[in-house]
């Protein structure tokens, strides 16, 4: 209903999670926070889809996980980007940019 609560397009969450992890290893909660912060709270991550997405990325070998201790001294699962994940991020970013540019161009044309 609110424009800021826009749902993520399928596959976008994967890209955003990869991007969030590019900044450094992080646990699930942190990834969610990062995405929300980076998008200035425009994007909201559905908690129910974050963890399956992380599992999917892990299956594909783009991220790896290990248990660590958080800043609040809690046991947490930290995810980090693998080298294939980094490559994947680059190529997906490029694909996304060209897609966004295309969409943008179309929208601009229409608005005139």
């Amino acid at each position: 209903m609110t424009g800021s609560n826009s749902e993520l397009i399928q596959g976008t969450l994967d890209l955003l999670a990869l991007k969030a992890l590019a900044l450094g290893p992080m646990h699930g909660w942190g990834i969610q926070k990062r995405i929300e912060q980076l998008s200035a709270d425009v994007l909201r991550v559905q908690q129910g889809s974050l963890y399956p997405a992380l599992l999917r990325l892990q299956q594909n070998g783009w991220i790896s996980a290990e248990w660590g201790v958080s800043e609040k001294n809690r046991r947490a699962k930290y995810y980090s980007l693998t080298s294939t994940g980094r490559r994947q991020l680059v190529s997906e970013t490029r694909a996304w940019e060209s897609l966004a540019a295309g969409v943008f161009r179309v929208l601009n044309t229409e608005s005139i």
């Binding site: 646990h27 963890y51 399956p52 594909n60 958080s70 809690r74």
Partner: protein
């Protein structure tokens, strides 16, 4: 790569499923704690904060529920869930489920029954042999024709024996089964005998259940005759009770071919080697110079420890090439092959064609089953497209859906498989109860091999029929499906085409099976009607073996049968027989015209520009054609006055006349057989074709020459040239005449043995019975195939109608009459049937042609068979279409339309 990685990941997850679950819980717990912290920082009360955090994360269970398609493989839980779902969904469509289960039951059951028969006949050495896997069979094949299997000559056996007996655990020879005249009571009876080398029983590891084995002395030339009985023969022909203690059978003397033989042993029940039904075993006496061209020995070798078939093959090859050098030029080049004993050669050579046919039919039946199930499953997929689309939309993975359908097809396959085995047991009982006695010797119980086949068939049918529709799903467009409400008229064009093609294939298969079986039944009927080209009623035949010592003389070129002396003896007997009251005609013949071996001779035909060929030849006495009742088509028969001194003549059969003298000018032509003492012969008559290689084989071109007009022939050592047959046509009960025949022959020569005295129709029946056995096996199978085909058509039409419900409703609503709807449905069914019929007929034509060239059971591809088969298929498919047609008409248009 990615796929493999995902797979491995899942495998790992599966292995550590519990840990994975625990980790996921911990991770989510961490998430909730963090969220709670944040909420508290914003000033929410701790309890409330935790509640909100938990709500936001959606609850651990819900998140976990999102995983199953990604994490590991289906666990026991979800398999049970799938099963429940499958059973429920199957019960929801009871009709199509019944069609599937019935198809599977009949198909798997029918083919399992046949496989059990084949298994028992072909792949099972009789259970009595010790370590049968060590036993191999040596067989020869004509030059450059490895597909043909022949027995081995005595000479080659001796050579092989010298090389192989040391290097293996031993080898033994068994002469091909033959019929001997055996006198147990007053009348001699024809019993099946096999002559065996000394060690054969030991080699096979079977000892007599009573009495003893042969001893080496008994193999010497001139030793007193001894015989070992089969258990079955003892049961049938002797009253004595062995277990009662009084061994009144062992030691008894019976006459075999006129010679006294002492019974020394009885083999255990169900023992046989090479061919079933052997009544007696005799010691095999190989003469000094066995005829190298007489190949009549089965050679069995027991391999030494760790020895391979290849080694035996290698040794044998050397022996054969050395042996070849001693043979006449045109007898060289025969190959020698090694076979495991399990695929018994007797069947392989005699019934190869029939068994090949059986395998074809079994394979076709199974194919029909798979097609049937696939058709119905595919139809069901189509009608459930909407369900699938919805389930995909709410997040069920593709794998999950495929798995669901596989589960469904495996469930029906399992039910069908169990039903099939039960069906097979019942079918086997029924087949065996009705089968002719020559089948009943063999043990036909279901063993692990047969059950393994049933299991494999079940699994293949289950997976195949589940995957086929799943593969079709590739073209499923989710959103289109939802938009259309899963109602596109009759599935996508692609799936419709597949299903139609499958049904056409099914019809083709059934038509082929029907026509081949029909031809076989027809062939049997021809045999049963006993139309061998002559009149068989009250026609007796018997064999006379003239004593070689008395009727041959030693000359410079070896031992030669004295034709004149033989002829006078035969004439003397004939004159006596003619005088018996009730005898209408008597004729002699060198060979039994029905199913004896053929005497192939080199011949030059004047018309063929001195081109040499080999032609079959037999010598017959005066009155032969009249006694046999074989019509002379042109010219004259052979007469009393065709003597040694008169011009030499010959009568040829129709096949020969047509093959070599296509212009119809056979009469008057001159033929010249090769050989010393031969003279040119003028063809004086053409006779109607008379069966001459057994009823199951095509008539070969044959020359009949007068008994009197043949040169002295060399005695080959086997004494075969001194054998003659008599044909006696009677006007009264042949049984009474038979007694008189014996008396009269004894008056001419008290030492003269008569063998194989019996009705000619009886000899003919034997051949017919063999085919009948085949009909009994194939017939039911084709019946099953027909039922399956009907089920297939029914299934496809039902599915099509279900899909076209709305269309029909609209048609009815806008005024289409019920008749038109019925016609529409029947037309759809018949269109498929007729395409299948056409293709099937063409295929059958090709197949029967092919089979006719190998087994001549298929002498004629009759149009009757074709049209009866076609009619049967059409009627069955119409019947199958009636149900769906009726249901289409019975639709309530309003209800059907409302379903939209």
């Amino acid at each position: 790569m990615l796929l493999i990685r995902r797979f491995l990941f899942r495998l790992l997850a599966l292995a550590k499923r519990d840990r994975f679950d625990a980790e996921l819980s911990a991770e989510l717990r961490h998430h909730v704690e963090c969220a709670t912290d944040e909420l508290i920082e914003r000033g929410v009360r701790p309890g409330e904060a935790r509640r909100i955090a938990l709500r936001d994360v959606g609850g651990i269970e819900q998140v976990r529920a999102e995983y199953p398609d990604q994490l590991g493989f289906p666990t026991a839980d979800s398999v049970v869930q799938d099963l429940t779902l499958a059973v429920r969904s199957l019960l929801k469509h009871p009709l199509s489920t019944a069609v599937i289960v019935l198809s599977l039951t009949v198909g798997i059951g029918g083919s399992t029954a046949i496989v059990a028969l084949l298994n028992a006949v072909l792949f099972h050495p009789p259970p009595l042999y010790r370590a049968p896997q060590e036993l191999v069979l040596l067989q020869q094949n004509p030059p450059d024709r490895p597909g043909i299997r022949s027995d081995v000559s005595g000479a080659l056996y001796m050579a092989l024996r010298a090389e192989l007996s040391e290097r293996t655990q031993g080898l033994a020879a068994v002469r091909a089964q033959s019929t001997a005249s055996v006198r147990i009571t007053d009348y001699p009876i024809g019993l099946a005998t096999q002559a065996v080398s000394p060690d054969v029983f030991d080699l096979l590891g079977v000892s007599p259940s009573h009495g003893r084995n042969f001893i080496s002395d008994e193999y010497r030339e001139g030793a007193a005759g001894v015989v070992v009985l089969s258990h079955e023969a003892w049961r049938e022909y002797f009253e004595g009770d062995l277990d009662g203690g009084d061994d009144d059978v062992i030691g008894r003397v019976i006459g075999i071919e006129g010679e006294p033989h002492t019974i020394v042993g009885i083999m255990p029940e169900r023992f046989w080697f090479g061919s079933t039904g052997t009544d007696l075993w005799l010691p095999l006496k190989l003469r000094d110079g066995p005829d190298p061209t007489r190949r009549d020995l089965s050679i069995v070798v027991r391999l030494a420890d760790g020895m391979s078939q290849g080694q035996v093959q290698a040794i044998s090859r050397t022996v054969v090439s050395n042996h070849d050098a001693q043979l006449p030029a045109d007898e060289r080049g025969w190959g020698l092959q090694v076979f495991p004993l399990a695929g018994l050669r007797g069947f392989a050579s005699q019934a190869a064609g029939g068994i090949r046919l059986l395998f074809i039919v079994v394979a076709l039946t199974l194919l029909i089953v798979c097609v049937n199930v696939a058709v119905v499953m595919a139809a069901r997929w189509s009608t459930r497209r909407r369900e699938i689309a919805v389930r995909s939309a709410i997040g069920a993975g593709r794998l999950r859906i495929v798995r669901q359908f596989l589960t469904e097809s495996m469930v029906v396959a399992a039910v069908g498989g169990v039903g099939g085995v039960l069906f097979a047991v019942i079918a086997l009982r029924a087949i065996l109860a009705a089968a002719p006695p020559n089948l009943s010797v063999i043990d036909f119980s279901l063993d692990f091999r047969t059950l393994g086949f049933a299991l494999a068939a079940t699994v293949v049918a289950g997976i195949g029929s589940g995957l086929l529709p799943a593969l079709q799903r590739g073209d499923l467009r989710l959103f289109d499906e939802l938009k259309q409400g899963g109602r596109n008229a009759s599935g996508t064009p692609g799936s419709l085409r597949t299903r139609n093609a499958l049904v056409i294939l099914e019809v083709v298969v059934v038509v082929v099976a029907l026509i081949t079986t029909g031809s076989m039944v027809l062939a049997y009927q021809e045999l049963a009607d006993l139309n061998p080209g002559f009149e068989t009623g009250w026609l007796l035949s018997f064999r006379i073996d003239l004593d070689e010592d008395r009727f041959s003389s030693d000359t410079d070129s070896g031992r030669v049968a004295n034709a004149a002396q033989i002829n006078s003896q035969l004439t003397a007997i004939r004159d006596r027989l003619v005088a018996i009251p009730g005898v209408e005609g008597v004729a002699t013949s060198l060979l039994l015209p029905i199913n004896d071996a053929i005497w192939l001779r080199r011949v030059t035909l004047a018309s063929q520009e001195s081109q040499e060929t080999r032609i079959a030849c037999t010598a017959v006495g005066a009155g032969f054609f009249e006694t046999l009742g074989a019509p002379i088509l042109e010219g004259r028969p052979l007469r009393e006055n065709d003597r040694e001194a008169t011009p030499w003549v010959a009568v040829v059969n129709r096949s020969l006349a047509e093959a070599f003298f296509p212009n119809g000018d056979a009469i008057g032509q001159v033929i010249q057989f090769e050989g010393e003492g031969e003279r040119p012969r003028r063809i004086v008559g053409i006779s109607e074709d008379v069966v001459n290689r057994g009823l199951t084989m095509a008539v070969v071109p044959l020359v009949y020459i007068p008994m009197e007009q043949r040169p002295d022939t060399q005695v080959s050592g086997a004494g075969s040239r001194l054998r003659s047959f008599f044909l006696v046509r009677t006007t009264s009960d042949p049984a009474a005449v038979a007694t008189l025949i014996r008396e009269e022959v004894a008056k001419v020569d008290p030492l003269q043995a008569i063998t194989r005295l019996g009705m000619v129709s009886g000899w003919l029946r034997q051949a017919a019975d063999e085919i009948l056995a085949g009909v009994y096996i194939i017939g039911p199978l084709v019946g099953f195939a027909l039922i399956l085909c009907a089920l297939g058509i029914y299934g496809v039409l039902s599915a099509a109608i279900q899909q076209r419900q709305q269309e029909f409703s609209v048609r009815i609503a806008v005024g289409a009459s019920r008749k038109e709807i019925i016609r529409l449905v029947l037309h759809q069914g018949l269109r498929l049937t007729s395409i299948g019929l056409l293709l099937g007929s063409l295929a059958a034509l090709a197949l029967t042609r092919f089979l006719a060239s190998t087994v001549v059971v298929f002498r004629s591809t009759s149009w009757v068979v074709f049209s009866v088969s076609a009619a049967l298929v059409i009627v069955v498919s119409l019947l199958a279409a009636c149900g769906p047609a009726w249901r289409a008409v019975a639709l309530d248009p309003v209800a059907a339309l409302r379903k939209e």
